[in-house]
Amino acid sequence: MPPAITASGNGVDESRLKFLRGRYSYASITDKISDVVLTRPTHWGWYAGFALCTLLTLLFVIAIAYLFATGVGIWGVDIPVAWAFAITNFVWWVGIGHAGTFISAFLLLLRQKWRTSVNRFAEAMTIFAVAMAGLMPILHLGRPWFFYWLVPYPDIMNVWPQWRSPLVWDIFAIGTYIVVSILFWYMGLIPDLATLRDRSDSRVKQIVYGLFALGWRGEARQWKRFDTAYLLMAGLATPLVVSVHSVVSLDFSIGNTPGWHSTIFPPYFVAGALFSGFAMALTISIPLRAIFGLKDFITARHLDNIAKVMLVCGLLVAYSYVVEIFMAFYSGDEFEKFMVVNRMTGPYAPIYWTVVFCNVVVAQLMWWKRVRLSTLALFVISIIVNIGMWLERFMIIVTSLHRDFLPSSWDVYYPTFWDWATLFGSLGAFAWLFLLFVRFLPAISISEMRKLVLEKREGET
């Protein structure tokens, strides 16, 4: 294990800065993580959160049912602002998913040991976030029951998707992303499901976990193939992540709308995706480690590292904001220049300045080690960044649309109750799925933690 960074002069307890605190054996680390699922009584906080999230999920279901029965007119969208909350939610949710894949795949390729105790729940975060994201474009279709027309299939009309359209690229990118994320997550879960199968006392749990463990035996040959396949999947998932948000950004930049039609969009969107995704990883891991007593595994060092990645992504995002302004004036294009000035001073100016405050100003607090080591400060910053990134997506989409090329069609978009219901309903459904996950599956990879125990022991001798 690499030596913990020194914190001399800061008054920081050195033991907080390890990846794995305390002395654990293979058995005790296995029991500690699997007992969260198998034997420990459920924390009241889980029940309270689950009740709230169930209500929000019901609201989401009602909002979708009413939408399908009535049509997109229940939202505030109209011409010229035909894209608003649903597309904002889509871009934001996909971005949140990206941090999970980045943690689990890219850090695996870089052999970063701090990945081990955060990768499982980060991957779960990815899957649930992409599930929410995948719903949004379908909800936003005028005729959602025809969404499969985007897929190439041999229909009797002999009509194919328009391959030159970014919307078709989108369904390939999102579809591939969700399938690969689920495979990667499930593959890592199989040995842990076998642990739960072997450790549970109830026959029902043994059968259910046993079926999902697929008969895993931990053979040396299985492990060898597992390692190869897992590494290859990580190598595939890393460029996939970059491609997915790039394709999402092309949904905008291929069109010639001012503020959208820009070559910086793919890297700009990917940086923003990682920024908001790592913020969500903090928002989730801070209560998770407190409620389930996992502070020995998800330590201050992990939170510190996540904050550092956020800081870098935040700087990239800030750079993109500056380049957008520069390019608008450098291009000399009247519409681009108007768009930038309108963003800063027009009807949506409060949103623009909130975005700058949340994503650029507040993020700079993470330069200070004291802030990065304060759980409360990080939690607050992560919430602020989540809000800021959602507003950034909203700003990009709506400010470009509401001042059309034709001034007679200018208008301002206002969300309706059903817009808010869709946003908060999707947040509730995401958290609802996540709460079920931490209750029934190990939130930390047990087999990888056992290996970390071995490596730690070898490092000490």
Partner: protein, 179 residues
């Protein structure tokens, strides 16, 4: 229990290093049908039991090529042969616009082949396996390390093999029945 009802003889160890050392000596003694069972991926163990090359990477490559070539062919066929549409004067085979779907399907094909290739080559899913009849085998997913010499091995001889495994310093040696 006669020898034909025996799946193998299983030795249990307390740590990974002891298991790798024992597995190496089992191979050195000439046993070929050997497998080891561990709670996590132990470095050096596959080599110790004589398993060097897995074919997962090859299968993944094939999956990636099939996925990418397949979707490119589909795009080319539909846009050039089956239903050509003049879209803003672009060539029918506008390959730059076909790259996103080609890339995604390359990744998708490779990932599907990697996952299912790994499962099928590892003999999963499987509802039952004789090794689960072994005593304390549930600890193989917690903190114990096992090596098994199977009765299918030509050099297997129940009493001698048991004595041999005991001589390797195992915590426990037990006979695994088929049922």
């Amino acid at each position: 229990m006669s020898d034909t009802e025996v799946y193998g003889v299983l030795a249990e160890f307390e740590d990974a290093d002891a298991l790798v050392a024992a597995a190496t000596r089992v191979r050195d003694a000439g046993y070929a049908r050997v497998d080891a069972y561990t709670p996590f991926s132990v470095p050096g163990l596959p080599e110790a039991i004589g398993f060097r090359r897995d074919r997962v990477a090859l299968v993944t490559l094939i999956g990636g090529i099939l996925g990418g070539a397949g979707i490119y062919f589909l795009q080319w066929f539909s846009a050039v042969v089956n239903y050509p549409i003049n879209s803003g004067g672009r060539p029918f085979n506008s390959w730059p616009a076909f790259i996103p779907a080609t890339f995604e399907c390359t990744v998708l094909g490779a990932a599907l082949f990697a996952f299912f290739g790994y499962l099928i080559m590892s003999g999963l899913p499987k509802l039952h396996h004789p090794i689960f009849n072994a005593k304390e085998f549930d600890l193989s997913t917690r903190n114990r390390f096992f090596v098994c010499i199977e009765s299918a091995d030509p050099r297997f001889e129940r009493a001698a093999t048991t004595r041999f495994l005991e001589s390797l310093g195992a915590m426990r040696v037990s006979v695994v029945p088929f049922s």
